[in-house]
């Protein structure tokens, strides 16, 4: 059968089982859109900005576990997509982004809407391809999905010149399998390392499991639960790992790191054996590396060898899928006695009794924490929650205990403001039967507002929880603590009337100014199953995120709400963001 390149591409996507594409047309992809137009199997979501397309594909991938797909045109289409691609890269999200490119004949001539897409995206993709020969196209698509979804997942860009989409060739069919000598993602867990790890685990008197995004991405929640229950060890989870282990379980110590719980951070600091599971010891977790876990032997399970030993020295590296590694550990632990850790738990309970998540209420103002607590109550903890970036993100992570994986969707690595709304749209398309809430702030939401229009067009009802404190809250908090309250550019004047704004986009807008109105408004919003509801909630502008490890400090140097209202740092700390 003779097909043009665009038709071959669309056929290939169908063969991959792709059912949703998020995109925006333009000159270089007109042939691709022409081919998509007659394809019933793939639903195309026309976004309002390419960054939104990539975030939506990202949200779709995080919730469904499938590969997200975005389609953009050359030049500005691609450059607009870059923030989304980098976001997905930092959080290891499987994604294929297809971009149009100018025709081969004019490449390199500064043609209209030409950018070096492969060059621009090189450092924020797992891999990228420039396709200039139609004979390579189907193979490249196969490779792209293979690379994006295996090993440590990540975004792959396919840049296709326009002439490639126009030329016709005999199409023999989409390749069923692909073998790449330079890419062998399946890594078998080494038995030796398991033996060494078991020796540490059985002797540990102050053990802790530190689980990250790899437990979610690697679909390892079941085995993680079994392993944690079997050992009886405490478990703490990173921002990216929330939900892999149920937060409401008594062995769960909550999140660790900069805004983690007191018990999680103190337990990390005092531990003699840390079992890191699909986590990468990033700076938001470790705080000051010189003060990080001074007494612990570290076992590190990760699919990516370059994550091991990158920032923190590791005693027993276990390279492989989290599922495989934990299964092997479980097997090896069978019949083995573990050390008595009852004293360790007693110590942890004293830390827990500090109640580091307590916050003071104030008459007449809505505390942002209470909004998240009310959201949890109204949704019975069963919603998918996406978030933007800033204080509201931390409060959502702290006060909405996730019991299941793929329910908490946020930009942890890159910290991309604007992520939440399009991600919520993608999440709703991936799980139409679920309630989806987007926790955001008046700063973040204005970075991707235009997607409200897409959400009407494709009927993706989401509840937007706008914690409106009139400030870029996290910036304001740091300026209060570390810049002597010099609030430079962190105040947002001239905010829109979000209720009218939501209404003008065809959605429902509700303004909440009083504590008493909060829960009724949330209940009303979630009653509107088929409507997107924008809840503009005026919250305490002076509230800060606690607990906090100030930059440059160690896990045992946390600041607690109501006890340490003012944080300070040193020059070293100020160098960290």
């Amino acid at each position: 059968m003779k097909l043009n390149g665009a038709q071959i591409l669309v056929n290939s996507l169908k063969s991959e089982g792709i059912d949703h594409i998020f995109g925006y047309p333009g000159g270089a992809v007109l042939h691709i859109y022409d081919a998509l137009n007659v394809c019933d199997e793939i639903k195309h979501i026309l976004v309002r900005h390419e960054q939104g397309a990539v975030h939506a594909a990202d949200g779709y991938a995080r919730v469904s576990g499938k590969c997200g797909v975005a389609l953009v045109t050359s030049g500005p289409g691609l450059t607009n997509a870059v923030t989304g691609i980098a976001t997905a890269y930092m959080d290891s999200i499987p994604m294929v982004v297809i971009s149009g490119q100018v025709s081969s004949a004019v490449i390199g001539n500064d043609a209209f809407q030409e950018v070096d897409a492969v060059g621009i995206t090189r450092s924020c993709v797992k891999h990228n391809f420039l396709v200039t020969d139609i004979n390579d196209l189907a193979n490249v698509v196969k490779k792209a999905f293979h690379i994006a979804t295996t090993g440590r997942p990540g975004p792959v860009l396919i840049d296709i010149t326009k002439d490639t989409t126009i030329i016709e060739r005999e199409f023999a069919g989409y390749p069923e399998s692909i073998n790449m000598r330079s890419y062998q993602p399946e890594i078998k867990v080494e038995a030796d390392q398991i033996t060494k790890a078991v020796a540490l685990i059985t002797q540990a008197k102050k053990p802790i499991i530190y689980s990250g995004g790899g437990s979610v991405i690697g679909n390892a929640d079941k085995i993680l639960r079994l392993f944690t229950r079997h050992t009886g060890f405490p478990i703490t989870q990173t921002l990216m790992g929330l939900g892999a282990y149920p937060a409401s379980d008594k062995q769960a110590l909550g999140m660790l790191g900069m805004h983690g719980t007191y018990e999680a951070n103190m337990a990390m600091h005092d531990s003699d054996c840390i079992i890191a599971v699909g986590a990468r010891f990033d700076d938001r977790i470790t705080g000051n590396l010189d003060k990080f876990c001074p007494y612990a032997k570290i076992i590190h399970i990760d699919i990516d060898p370059s994550s091991v030993g990158k920032t923190v020295g590791v005693d027993v590296p276990i390279i492989g899928q989290v599922n495989d590694a934990l299964s092997a550990l479980m097997q090896a632990l069978k019949g083995k006695e573990l050390a008595d850790i009852s004293q360790w738990w007693a110590q942890i309970e004293t830390w827990r009794s500090v109640d580091s998540m307590a916050y003071k209420t104030k008459a007449g103002v809505i505390k942002p924490q209470s909004v998240i607590e009310a959201l949890y109550e109204v949704t019975k903890g069963e919603a998918i929650v996406t978030s933007d970036v800033g204080q509201h993100q931390m409060w959502a992570a702290q006060y909405y205990p996730f019991d299941k994986p793929r329910r908490w969707i946020n930009s942890g690595g890159l910290g991309t403001m604007g992520f939440g709304l399009p991600a919520a749209m993608g999440a709703k398309l991936a799980a139409p039967e679920m309630d989806v809430a987007c926790v955001t702030g008046e700063g973040s939401i204005q970075m991707m507002l235009q997607e409200l229009s897409t959400m009407l067009q494709y009927n993706t009802p989401v509840k937007i929880i706008n914690l409106n404190n009139g400030y870029l809250g996290m910036v304001r908090q740091w300026q209060e603590f570390f810049y002597d309250k010099r609030y430079s550019m962190s105040y947002m004047d001239a905010l829109p009337d979000f209720v009218k704004l939501a209404e003008s986009y065809g959605h429902i807008g509700i303004k909440v100014e009083k504590e008493a109105d909060l829960k009724p408004a949330l209940i009303e919003a979630f009653k509107q199953k088929d409507k997107t509801v924008f809840l503009d909630i005026l919250t305490d502008p002076s509230e800060n995120v606690f607990p906090m490890i100030p930059s440059g400090a160690g896990h045992h140097e946390m600041l607690l709400a109501g006890r340490d209202e003012m944080a300070s740092t040193n020059d070293e700390g100020l160098n960290l963001v």
């Binding site: 797992k126 690379i147 060898p305 370059s306 030993g309 990158k310």
Partner: protein, 160 residues
């Protein structure tokens, strides 16, 4: 410490920039980098000299290995290996300095590959240190131009 890292990578456009980009993006240092196709025309051999402590070199090797186009990474410094570098040097020569320069060329096994009225172009090959020593042996004011290839190397064992 100085390390020689040898890579086999797919001979595809963009592969070189992926490696070079990795070094600049992650702040790794490159002393020299050479690349050319091998006897298997689908593969290129790249040899990189970098200076760093063991942790950094381990990260470099892991990050290189992670690149999709890279088939194999070997830290040659960690094994028995041969390293060679070639330099072409254009030297100002006059009757009064010629004997001295000839002596150094002989001493380092160099070859005069081109002669003009008042210049030599000399080729010297060997370990980088030998090339350095040769260049130091020549009066700096007489050196008109230096072009070094950077280091290439192989592991001595039949299979590695």
């Amino acid at each position: 410490m100085r390390h020689i890292i040898s890579l086999q990578l797919e001979n595809e456009s963009g592969a070189l920039s992926r490696v070079a980009g990795l070094f600049s993006a992650r702040g790794f240092n490159i002393e020299s980098l050479t690349v050319a196709p091998t006897n298997d025309e689908t593969l290129s051999r790249m040899t990189i000299v970098s200076i760093g402590d063991d942790d950094i070199i381990e990260q470099i090797v892991k990050q290189l290995d992670k690149l999709i186009d890279v088939v194999r990474v070997t830290n040659l410094t960690a094994t028995e290996h041969i390293e060679r570098e070639l330099v072409l040097v254009k030297i100002d020569v006059n009757p009064s300095s010629q004997a001295e320069i000839d002596k150094h060329i002989d001493e380092y096994g160099g070859k005069i590959v081109d002669v003009s009225e008042d210049t030599y172009t000399v080729e010297v090959a060997g370990k980088s240190q030998r090339v350095n020593d040769f260049l130091v042996s020549i009066d700096a004011s007489k050196i008109l131009e230096v072009s070094r290839t950077g280091v290439t190397g192989v592991c001595q064992k039949r299979e590695y």
